[in-house]
């Protein structure tokens, strides 16, 4: 009894001033970022991540927040309404290969679908690239009789005896998780469901992942690979989330714990812990969500987001306020086909190492110095030059100012590394070698931006570039100029944008279901039935997670011309729960138009097919209030803290004005050449450009092209 009393007492303490908090936390490889919103103001910060112990990183972030608010941890936790987590647990599980021991049940004759990877290899010349580590070794891939055809007609009944036999064998082998993927289960999932029932009879504690639940979509390799990733990663995620929730509750947390999903939404723990594969891009999607929201508030709906971290540069295109979904994503060396944001990654981050090849070619990345030893200028023993070292030599960092995490910079070490590994081999001065590293890194990044737009049929000039991550805004204005983009946007919270996104994201369930049908044979009633059933399923999941009852539903059809294999995702515009014949006609027209805008041609009258249905159900969470500040004077004089020699592509090294971003006010106009030091972020404004902080805490850099 005393226990429950104590628990009750803990449930009631209040912040002395009655404040309630919403928290966003993004656990990254180097730092754990946090943002807290009490309705009136926003507090942000970072603590170092503890690799392998995310729960402690989260508690330390909360402890730091509590300390900042003058409260001990239990009191602070009791004052929190919600915590939204961006997590790397799933991604790390895939990189470290420490997921659950997993078995597979497949159709007789199809034991090895996972082996061929549709023929894909990561290199097209390197014969010595070894096979990817098998998440399920062949001995744990078992097959059973039973087959349905593409219309769901049963050709052979499920051999239940074989199912029992194989599952028992797998349990004896010690599996903790079971993936089930049968051919055409997206048309008729009954065989897979029966396998799950039998597994549950034999061992109710076994984690079972059915391909018809994870991704009821055509193409067996993609569905299987996705299901395997889910079965392999979910048990670990589940135990982490349960452990974390218990620790938080024990310490006094009475609010809601939510997890950021790869689709840019959030869901509760009960939902998330069975769906590891939906959480692979948890962190990166937070950045895209925040960038999208913040840019939208200031009137920009067409943007390309660019997140420059320590090891990579991640870009994503957002068209008319909608982050685009990827169709061919590989995570590590594994195909993941659930709806993920179309985030394209190149190995050009702050820690990316510069080197000269045997023929005198300079390259940057993909090898990274990571957090340890880190760039040479960290003074932790890193001897090879990185992009961060080059940026230091070029004057973008204030040598007297600590880097993120309070690290002192060692400028001499940076110069030495650049001189030894790039300057000497190329016969360049240290400064010129730093310029060379800067240019190569910029060209890699600009090519990533080109790729994500041009090869998707979009013109980068129609988009604003939103730069974030620690060093994103150092490079952004160069790339924007390179691609003839007119505007760069840098949120003031650029260094903790993923955590900010966690705070802003809404509840969201995205469901996909294949329905292969020629457009002319599409039965409107059947279509409505299917879509409504999907919507009901999504709403049920949202209800279970105690999301607000009011939802926004969006429906899409994956469509293509007969013969094509890649589909265009076409919105279905409907004002009611049902799709009307007029809506449907409009959808077909939109398909042709969308096809033309993406691929430069359309073929009205050519046979068209529907391949899959998509339903997204979103329940708004209220999100973080976006403060609107009135404009102050135009002059940025009060924030000016000096001047320094800084390198710019036009004109080389020159004197630039230096500003303390924390002193800038909305409406202040900063003409280039200038550098603005924000907390943990640096903005470089080239000559001919000008930056202004707008009323939403967003820097808008205009580029005169």
């Amino acid at each position: 009894m005393t226990d429950s009393r104590a628990a009750e007492d803990r449930a009631h303490p209040q912040a002395p001033d009655g404040r309630r908090f919403s928290i966003g936390i993004d656990v990254g490889g180097t730092f754990t970022d946090y943002v807290a919103d009490d309705g009136a103001s926003i507090v942000k910060g970072k603590v170092p991540s503890r690799p392998g112990d995310e729960a402690t990183s989260v508690l330390e972030a909360l402890g730091a927040l509590g300390a900042g608010a003058g409260m001990d941890l239990p009191l602070y936790l009791a004052s929190i309404d919600s915590i939204v987590l961006g997590t790397t647990v799933v991604l790390n599980t895939m990189l470290e290969f420490d997921g659950a021991k997993t078995g597979l049940i497949a159709n007789d004759g199809f034991r090895d679908v996972i082996e061929l990877r549709r023929g894909h290899k990561e290199s097209q010349v390197d014969l010595s690239l070894p096979a990817p580590t098998a998440l399920i070794p062949r001995r744990l891939r078992r097959t059973v009789g039973g087959r349905v055809d593409h219309q769901g007609v049963e050709i052979d009944p499920l051999d239940e005896e074989a199912v029992r036999e194989q599952i028992s064998f797998l349990l004896e082998e010690g599996i903790e998780s079971l993936a089930v993927c049968l051919l055409f289960s997206f048309v008729d999932p009954s065989h897979e469901r029966r396998v799950a029932e039998i597994a549950n009879e034999i061992d109710p504690s076994l984690f079972v992942s059915l391909s018809s639940d994870v991704l009821p979509q055509i193409r067996e390799f993609e569905r299987l690979s996705t299901t395997i990733v889910n079965a392999y990663t979910s048990p670990k995620l589940k135990s982490y989330l349960e452990r974390l929730e218990t620790r938080l509750r024990d310490e006094g947390f009475g609010g809601t714990l939510l997890v950021l999903q790869s689709n840019g939404g959030v869901m509760d723990v009960a939902y998330s812990k069975a769906r590891g594969v939906d959480i692979v891009f948890s962190g990166p999607s937070g950045g895209v969500v925040a960038a999208t929201r913040i840019a939208q508030a200031s009137g920009y709906t067409n943007i390309i987001t660019a997140d420059m971290g320590g090891t990579s540069y991640d870009v994503c295109l957002v068209h008319e306020g909608e982050p685009q979904l990827g169709v061919d994503q590989w995570v590590g060396r594994y195909r993941v086909a659930v709806p993920l944001l179309d985030i394209h990654t190149v190995g050009a981050g702050g820690g990316s190492i510069a080197y000269v090849d045997e023929a005198g070619g300079l390259h940057v990345g993909p090898e990274s110095a990571r957090a340890f030893p880190g760039p040479a200028c960290y003074g932790r023993g890193g001897e090879r030059p990185t992009v961060t070292d080059a940026n230091l030599v070029l004057g973008y960092f204030d040598p007297g100012r600590p880097l993120a995490g309070g690290l002192e910079v060692d400028a001499e070490a940076a110069r030495r590394a650049i001189e030894t590994h790039v300057g000497a081999p190329l016969g360049l001065s240290t400064e010129d070698a730093a310029v060379a590293i800067f240019r190569i890194a910029n060209s890699d990044m600009a090519n990533a931006l080109r790729f994500i737009s041009v090869s998707r049929g979009r013109d980068p000039r129609d988009y604003a570039l939103v730069a974030f991550g620690g060093a994103g805004a150092i490079h952004a204005s160069v790339q924007a100029a390179d691609l003839n983009m007119a505007t760069v946007l840098v949120p003031r919270s650029a260094s903790v944008l993923s955590a900010t996104g966690a705070l802003m994201a809404d509840y969201k369930v995205s469901l996909v279901q294949s329905l292969l049908v020629d457009w002319d044979d599409l039965d409107l009633d059947q279509l409505n039935q299917r879509l409504l059933a999907m919507q009901a399923e999504a709403e049920e999941l949202l209800n279970a997670g105690e999301a607000p009852a009011e939802v926004v539903v969006s429906r899409h059809l994956d469509m293509r011309y007969a013969g094509q294999v890649q589909e265009v995702i076409v919105p279905v515009r409907s004002r009611t729960r049902r799709i009307t014949p007029v809506n449907l006609t409009r959808t077909l027209r939109d398909f042709h138009d969308l096809h033309e805008s993406l691929y430069a041609f359309k073929r009205p009258g050519f046979p068209t097919q529907v391949v899959s249905l998509r339903v997204d159900v979103i329940a708004a969470r209220g999100g973080a209030a976006m403060a609107v500040s009135p404009f102050a004077e135009e002059s940025p004089e009060r924030a000016r803290i000096g001047s320094r020699r800084v390198y710019f592509e036009s004109g080389g090294f020159q004197s630039a004005e230096i500003f303390d971003g924390t002193l800038l006010r909305p409406g202040n106009l900063v003409p280039g050449p200038a550098v603005i030091h924000e907390a943990d972020t640096t903005l470089v404004i080239a000559p001919g450009q000008e930056a202004m902080l707008d009323q939403h805490d967003l820097y808008v850099i205009e580029i005169s092209v």
Partner: protein, 608 residues
């Protein structure tokens, strides 16, 4: 002099352009062979008044893009003095820059300062190219019997679409609507390339870009010469045998002598078989493509462009199977003998670069099936790519894995489910075969068995071509050859028959199963030196049987505990080592199984 940094930036930029071109093309084409199988490629070429150079290529079928180099050269030669901005050229003639008739190359000259200086290009294998039989005429005895042939031709002239030319081309095709759409997709890809190249030249100026191009080519050339210099001078010869020319000749030799002299290599194909009456004749574009493919795999660290190829001097004796004289038929050459050309070059390289060799080719297992799809009432033609998925070999440090070798990995293996939706077929199996991986210290990938059955197909016919059963892909440095491809019709049934070379237009009853066995890639190194622990792992995974572990690797496992018996293994390895040291060739268990299953008699060892 250009600085290396700017040159590197231009190189990265052009490689992104090539990627954009192929992405645009595959996303917009309508034929599965492009958008699903990716049997196509893209590149950016330059021209400096003297020669055409490949400067950047997309990560897509390398064989195609090396051949496209010949196509761009041919189109420039053909239209010398008659090229203008806005022209779009199409090339297909094997005797004028092409490989075989269905490979179409779109070439788009980009004029800068009044001269054609760059050429974005897309090349792809069209699903149909006219002619008497869908999917190619096995009985063709000259180029005219192989389908619709045309010289390099302009689809657009000075920006104007030539409707008469388009009509003429599409009317000679069984899939006119698809062809039109696919050509549009190819041209669309090139247009993206043109736009990007112009933006690059606007930014840096044409002179800087041209200097960068020279730097890019010279840099790869320099690295290639350094690499060749490190190889010991000498003559290294090898021979591959082509099982059949589909016209009566058997075991046709493809011979190459690689002469390493200083920083250059001569690849001399003297001694290769005379050209044949059948369709298995190669032409220079195709032979060079496979020669270059092998060298690209030998030097994966060097960026590939024309500079890379400069120190490699080909000698292609005219009138042979690697350089046939017009009007020989050539339909099969992109795999037969193309694959043998790649394989034999790699085999010869074993003498000077053992640590770099491995299977870089595939061998043909090509069925076409056609008839009526009872589900729709329409006719269908199915080029069955699902049955030919494995040919990846062992290399030093890694076993073969996945489907095809890296050099062919841009071609996608189709989806079983999508194939069953698109065609009247039901797959009974598609899986690895125990004991079929070519043994080696590093083994090849295991063979792959596919069994298909017609499913609501009427009046189904098939033509099937098989190579590599009599003389499979080579093993390297003491590793075993691949186990071999074969096909069995009605396996285990009353009408069972083995297809060891080919069938032509055979009728398939509605319930008849066909089994395809794709024999994997070659092994690398002595199998008796394979880590017993790796053998044990393969046994646990059913990739190697207990018998196979002993027969091929001399590894003795306890059948109950599944542990390696070190003493018995050492003794067995000693015994096998002595036995194999003699002249008597030994057969891997997998190869033995294939010979027993098919009942064929392979050719005796050649003197090479």
């Amino acid at each position: 002099m250009i600085d290396s940094v700017t040159a590197e930036i231009v190189r990265n930029y052009l490689e992104t352009v090539a990627a954009e071109v192929i992405q645009t093309m595959t996303r917009t084409s309508v034929s599965p062979i492009f958008n699903e199988a990716h049997d196509c490629s893209a590149g950016v070429f330059s021209y400096d008044d003297r020669e055409v150079s490949l400067i950047a290529r997309a990560d897509a079928a390398p064989v195609h893009i090396y051949a496209a180099l010949s196509s761009v050269e041919a189109s420039l030669e053909f239209f010398r003095g008659n090229l203008a901005q806005g022209d779009v050229i199409l090339v297909c003639d094997p005797y004028d820059g092409g490989s075989h008739l269905p490979d179409y190359t779109v070439v788009m000259p980009v004029f800068i300062d009044g001269k054609p200086q760059f050429f974005p290009s897309v090349r792809g294998h069209m699903p149909d190219n006219g002619g008497p039989v869908p999917g190619g005429n096995l009985k063709a005895r000259d180029i005219w019997q192989e389908g619709f042939r045309f010289s390099p031709i302009k689809l657009y002239e000075r920006g104007e679409l030539r409707e008469d030319v388009w009509e003429w081309i599409v009317r000679n095709n069984r899939l006119p609507e698809n062809l039109r759409a696919d050509l549009e997709a190819m041209i669309g890809g090139c247009r993206v390339g043109e736009q990007r190249i112009r933006e690059l030249c606007d930014r840096y100026g044409i002179e800087v870009v041209l200097e960068a191009v020279r730097w890019i080519l010279d840099s790869s050339e320099r690295r290639m010469r350094e690499r060749i210099s490190a190889w010991p001078d000498g003559e290294y010869a090898a021979t591959s045998l082509l099982d059949t020319d589909f016209a009566g000749r058997r075991d046709l030799p493809i011979k190459v002598t690689l002469r390493v002299e200083g920083d250059e290599v001569t690849a001399d194909f003297a001694g290769s078989a005379e050209q044949t009456d059948g369709i298995a004749n190669s032409v220079p574009a195709n032979t060079l493509a496979f020669l270059y493919t092998a060298f690209s795999a030998l030097c994966p660290e060097i960026p590939i462009n024309s500079g890379f190829f400069r120190p490699v001097r080909p000698v292609l004796p005219p009138g042979t199977i690697v350089n046939a004289n017009e009007p020989a038929a050539v339909r099969a050459n992109t795999v037969t003998p193309g694959a043998d050309i790649g394989d034999v070059v790699m085999k010869a390289a074993e003498g000077f670069a053992p640590e770099r060799v491995g299977t870089c080719s595939i061998d043909l297992l090509g069925p076409w099936l056609w008839g009526k799809d009872e589900r729709s009432g329409r006719s269908f033609l199915h080029y069955e790519l699902l049955c030919t998925p494995t040919a990846s070999g062992g290399v030093e440090g890694a076993d073969g894995w996945g489907a095809w070798p890296a050099t062919f990995s841009s071609a996608d293996v189709p989806s079983v489910e999508m194939s069953e939706v698109q065609y009247p077929v039901l797959y009974k199996s598609g899986q690895l075969v125990t004991d079929s991986a070519a043994p080696g210290r590093w083994r090849g990938s295991a063979g792959w068995e596919t069994v298909r059955q017609p499913h609501r197909a009427a009046d189904q016919h098939h033509s099937i071509r098989v190579q590599g059963l009599y003389s499979p892909l080579h093993g390297f440095c003491g590793g075993c050859d691949a186990t071999g491809n074969y096909v069995v019709i009605d396996p285990g049934g009353e009408r069972e028959r083995v297809v060891s070379t080919w069938t032509d237009s055979a009728l398939s009853p509605p319930d008849e199963l066909i089994l395809f066995n794709s024999g994997g890639g070659g092994g690398w190194g002595n199998p008796l030196e394979r880590d017993p622990e790796l053998v044990r792992r393969d046994v646990l995974d059913d990739l190697v049987s207990l018998d196979g572990a002993r027969w091929d690797y001399g590894v003795v496992l306890d059948p109950e505990l599944m542990t390696v018996d070190p003493e018995a293994t050492a003794a067995e390895r000693r015994r096998l080592g002595e036995q194999r040291a003699g002249d008597r060739p030994w057969l891997s268990l997998g190869r033995k199984n294939v010979l027993e299953r098919t009942g064929i008699e392979p050719p005796s060892e050649t003197e090479d």
